[in-house]
Symmetry: C2
Subunit: 154 residues, 2 copies
Amino acid sequence: MDSRNLPIEKLSFDDCWELLDTDTVGRLAIVVDEHPEIFPVNYVVHLRSIVFRTAPGSKLWGARMERPAALEIDGYDPSSEQAWSVVVRGDTEIIEDQAVRDAVDGLGLEPWQPGEKANYVRLNAKALTGRRFKVNRPDVWNTRLQDRRRASFE
Amino acid sequence: MDSRNLPIEKLSFDDCWELLDTDTVGRLAIVVDEHPEIFPVNYVVHLRSIVFRTAPGSKLWGARMERPAALEIDGYDPSSEQAWSVVVRGDTEIIEDQAVRDAVDGLGLEPWQPGEKANYVRLNAKALTGRRFKVNRPDVWNTRLQDRRRASFE
């Protein structure tokens, strides 16, 4: 089958949020000195925004600093033989309110790698896009489990 | 155990390239109108650079256009209970030489999603960084297979 004729399905907002809810690791892209930076983050969904923790004092996430960012997740569903990806675009802000920090801690938020990650950063979604498509060689994709990763470092 | 005291190991260039050689899907970050964009790509390593295919005519990858980009891969090794990530930073260029295109096709390069992807883009590495660390809750990570994804759409 020539998959160049296969459709790429656009996901609804609800589908996108459901996938974001069930995953725990995304990759965040930001712009630093006009160059793209990208790194994995553990995140939780809180009030239909993305929250993650980072190290304090970083030039990337100064207090009260807003910067545009994009978070991406992707995966593969063996039962439907479909791959998918979701991208959240928006601006980030530092969470100063301890009650909100406690709330996201209660959702299981942990940093992706060890080290002090005292900053809580929220990515407010301005745009949300998702796509899903049937792969042409599921035999290869089926070697992969559902991509659910979770690290807890406490 | 308080994993905040666990070391984060920096990977050597050789380790980074070995991980890049064995993976096939990364996430590429670029800057568009001062905002970060991020999307998954199938890639191959060719002459110690990253090569992937994209749709032609896109504003992202005009002919002879160079732009800074960063590619990230990550994964988890159940045998050592370690997570890792590798980031390649550099500039991209369109590959015009058909012999080079044939060479990377021979390495199994396929686009991540269906559709015509006539552009071949090379990311020349200017900086290469990798990190690896032992996770604190391998029980959670062990649910995940080695993250080797490969889609072929021809």
